[in-house]
């Protein structure tokens, strides 16, 4: 977008020490080519281009479903778009933020950033030590300038200017007896560098979190107990350098999950209002339990890890018996909510059933819409009229013995159980009801329903690094953007025509008259610069000996604006 300009690449200010017109290009050796490439990469224009590219590259990740957020939605998307999705997948559109092209952009950006701030830091450190530069010859060519004649001697005039600039916190130096150089706003570049340095700090914090952090998720039904160890989490994703044998050994039991939904009809009907998990926590297996409440926005801390309440749902308690009445299965089985009204999907696997294994799959509906006109649906998220709606399958539950999710039923080697008339058997149960499976296959009973809490245990040792860096970055940004780098020069010379002061102020007639020239320079648009030049002029006016000051600051109109 911005790099195709015909303008020759120029370095941004601050990095531009060696800004000279490029000569007719000689043949570049490999080293020169490398140096040229490095200069291009670390130029401000490249940074600008990469920033724009990064912003464009980030967008697809918000449009296409992402594996790192919801692998299920990615699978659905691929199933619905069989022609385009293999290509999208190959190009990394379902893992945008881990894709080669996205990584390439941000890595280049950070190389460019480091390649920019290192030399800039050197330059800045040198500038911090250096004296303000010599006053240029023609001060009236600077952005802001003024000239006045005073009856003070040149030395006295310089002293007045010096005092005025000192008050404005300028760093001052006189290179010769007739001029004064002042510079201020070093914090601007300090802030700039701090900001960019802190950005690398954020990235380092992210990397540390990625390598040393871990998260484990648990689905815990009311009344159940969970003992933390590598094998007990439903899913655990440790960083590459995490020792999963040394996870905090806490024990957590869920006594009650308080849930409230909005029951006022209208917009917002059914929206959640309250999720509170009442738990008992033992920090290690031997220690006494303490009562703790986990709720959204209020995690509890254990041994450097935090326990978050991230989800909730229902676990219907279901009993499956064989034809003789022997209990084959009795468990609180979590069903995962699919929509805002908690239409929940789940699977019941009964491997001990004979002669063939049994599997049930279907929905739990907390407030069932009774007609099922549009399939099983729930009309409210709270358990006002709970119902289970399941289809029944028999055959081999675990084809090939491959590991599989507890929330899906692999029906490759199963077939649906039918009633005597050949229609598929559909189980619809309210709490307490029992369904006799066709053909002496036994029965299924929906005993009751409990809530579950979706808990997530997470550590991120990199987060404090990122946080401190982010705060420093903001501070640096504010300094770098609001402080102005200014140079002000003052030069004195004896007035060519001594009569210039005679009539004025009635001062010491015959005393030497001095012409004072003031020039100010700023690197950016800077309305404050004019005020500083004016302040120096005013300082001369308030000095008693001032004679016909002919101050003529430029651009009077600008002072009143912006």
């Amino acid at each position: 977008m911005t790099t195709d300009t015909p303008v020759k690449p120029r370095k941004g200010k601050g990095r531009a020490k060696d800004q000279r017109p490029e000569p007719a290009l000689p043949d570049l050796g490999p080293l020169e080519l490398l140096r040229w490439g490095w200069r291009q990469l670390t130029s401000m224009r490249t940074a600008l281009f990469l920033l724009l590219l990064l912003s464009i590259a980030a967008v697809p990740g918000s449009i296409f479903p992402q594996r790192n957020i919801d692998a299920g939605r990615v699978a659905d998307y691929i199933a619905q778009n069989p022609t385009t999705s293999p290509w999208l997948d190959r190009l990394g559109f379902f893992d945008v933020y881990a894709s080669v092209w996205f990584s390439a952009i941000y890595l280049l950006l950070f190389i460019s950033l480091v390649g920019c701030i290192v030399p800039r830091t050197k330059v800045h450190v040198a500038a911090l030590r250096a004296r303000p530069p010599k006053a240029p010859a023609r001060l009236h060519r600077l952005d802001e300038h003024a000239e006045l004649t005073t009856s003070l001697s040149p030395d006295e005039a310089l002293a007045v200017a010096r005092a005025a600039l000192k008050r404005k916190r300028f760093r001052l130096h006189s290179h010769d007896g007739v001029s004064l150089s002042g510079e201020s706003g070093y914090l601007r570049e300090t802030g700039n560098l701090l900001f960019h340095l802190a950005l690398t700090g954020i990235i380092i914090g992210m990397a540390v979190g990625h390598v040393f952090g871990w998260r484990g998720d648990i689905i815990l039904a009311e009344g159940d107990k969970f003992a933390s160890s590598a094998g007990t989490y439903n899913t655990i994703s440790p960083g590459p350098w995490v020792d999963t044998e040394s996870l905090p050994p806490f024990v957590l039991s869920l006594d009650k999950l308080h849930v409230e939904f909005n029951e006022t009809p209208g917009r917002g009907f059914g929206q959640p209002r309250l999720f509170d998990a009442q738990t008992r926590l033992q920090r290690d297996p031997g220690s006494p339990a303490s009562e703790e409440t986990v709720s959204v926005n209020h995690p509890i801390a254990v041994d450097g890890a935090d326990i978050f309440l991230l989800g909730n749902g229902y676990t219907p308690v279901v009993t499956v018996r064989d034809a003789k009445g022997t209990v084959l299965y009795r468990e609180a089985t979590p069903f995962l909510p699919q929509d805002g009204n908690y239409r929940s999907l789940g699977v019941i696997k009964v491997p001990s059933a004979s002669p063939k294994q049994l599997g049930f799959t279907g929905f739990f509906l907390p407030t069932a819409e009774p007609t099922f006109a549009n399939g099983p649906a729930s009309i409210f998220p709270d358990a006002k009229n709970p119902e289970l709606a399941l289809s029944v399958w028999e055959g081999n539950l675990f084809p090939g013995g491959a590991p599989q999710s507890v929330y899906t039923l692999n029906t490759d080697e199963m077939k649906q159980v039918t009633k005597a008339d050949g229609s598929p058997a559909l189980v619809r149960l309210k709490p307490g009801q029992t369904y006799q499976l066709p053909g002496d296959r036994g029965s299924i009973t929906f005993d009751n329903v409990k809530r579950f809490a979706g808990l997530s245990v997470r550590t991120d040792p990199g987060a404090p690094i990122s946080l401190v860096s982010a705060i420093l970055a903001t501070l640096g940004l504010i300094l770098g953007l609001t402080i102005k780098r200014r140079r002000v020069f003052v030069r004195v010379r004896p007035a060519a025509d001594p009569t210039a002061t005679d009539g004025g102020a009635g001062g010491r007639t015959g005393s030497p008259a001095t012409v004072v020239t003031i020039g100010g320079l700023s690197k950016d648009s800077d309305p404050g610069l004019a005020a500083i030049v004016t302040a120096i002029v005013t300082a001369f006016h308030t000095t008693i000996d001032t004679a016909t000051a002919t101050a003529e600051p430029d651009r009077p109109a600008e002072r009143t604006e912006s």
Binding site: M44, G268, L274, A463, I471
Partner: protein, 337 residues
């Protein structure tokens, strides 16, 4: 129940819309008086031409970069432009109406907040209203000091549009918050977000005017019109930059505060949720603008296009990302379902 308070909040909202409409008309009326009279216009045109030559000469002698092009006075119309008494009076009336309308709008937001006993920006309707109020306040505070009467119509009209849309399309009854929003970070993260949006909005309006004004300066019309009574393109560009700069700093803070809150609510400070993605996109686009602005040799016009693109991303972030189901994420707080 504090429903009567919520009802009063709505009445104040309607009242503020009526007054904003009057302010909009008054600003238009003011612009009509602003256009230089035919008698003055000749002087004006001449001074503009003279200045252009001056600028041209300066550019030839100095650096060729267009960034260096700074007219000697902020008003390219030059000292010849004197705002007529009539124009000033109308501008004052319009400003007074804007103050009144903004006060009503702020009152409405405050009453809504008291009615629901929480920061009144928990759903899209509330956020839109509060953001519109922030734009109104930011403009009101800055307008008189900077003599921004010319900007009024370009600020008040979008405010009216947003208020109208939020009442007709986004309206949500006063109610309790979702658990995820029950945190003091709602007060911090969201309020800074719409303050940033307020500054970006002002900067956008000034930025568009800058581009129009720049075009007019490149091809001056035979007879100067309202546009010639505006500050020069260079001054408009500086104003837009200052506003964008404030917006950018606030947006950086929004991003960081959001990450801190996300860590508390979801256990991870950054998960590439669509809202996070777009907040990041906005940040990088405005960062690119800041870089372009700071790079010698990048045409400020191009930089301004980047800033305008950033504002488009702000709008997308608030509309599409909240409402379209493609962008399903964890920021589902629009209250629209």
């Amino acid at each position: 129940m504090p429903n009567s308070l919520a009802a009063n909040a709505n009445i104040a909202l309607y009242a503020s819309m009526i007054v904003y409409t009057l302010a909009m008309l008054a600003f238009t009326w003011h612009l009509a008086a602003r256009a230089p009279k035919v008698a003055d216009s000749k002087v004006l045109a001449e001074s503009t031409v003279a200045e252009r030559e001056l600028v041209g000469a300066g550019a030839a002698a100095g650096a060729p970069a267009p960034a260096e092009r700074r007219p000697a006075t902020p008003y390219a119309a030059g000292p010849a432009f004197e705002e007529s008494l009539r124009s000033r009076q109308r501008g004052s009336i319009a400003l007074m109406l804007t103050y009144l309308a903004t006060a009503l709008l702020v009152a409405s937001v405050v009453m809504r907040g008291v009615a629901v006993s929480r920061p009144p920006w928990g759903n899209m309707f509330e956020f839109a209203t509060a953001a519109a109020a922030a734009v109104g306040v930011a403009y009101s505070v800055l307008a008189r000091r900077n003599r921004w009467e010319w900007l009024g119509v370009f600020i008040v009209t979008p405010i009216l549009l947003v208020l109208g849309l939020s009442l007709t399309v986004l309206y949500t009854e006063a109610g309790e918050l979702m658990p995820a929003l029950k945190s003091y970070w709602l007060g911090i993260h969201v309020s800074v977000a719409f303050l940033a949006v307020a500054f970006f909005t002002l900067a956008f309006a000034v930025g568009v005017l800058y581009l129009v004004r720049l075009r007019r300066e490149d091809k001056p019309p035979a007879k100067p019109g309202v546009l010639e009574s505006l500050p020069s393109a260079a001054a408009l560009e500086r104003t837009a930059y200052s506003l964008n700069m404030v917006g950018f700093i606030l947006w950086t803070f929004t991003l960081i505060a959001g990450a801190i809150w996300a860590k508390q609510a979801w256990g991870a400070y950054w998960q590439w949720d669509p809202k996070e993605v777009w907040t990041f996109v906005i940040w990088t686009v405005y960062a690119a603008y800041m870089h372009g602005r700071a790079t010698a040799g990048v045409d400020p016009r191009r930089s301004m296009y980047i800033a305008l693109a950033g504002y488009v991303a702000v709008i997308i972030n608030f509309t599409l990302v909240n409402l379209v189901s493609t962008f399903v994420g964890m920021h589902n707080y629009s209250g629209m379902s």
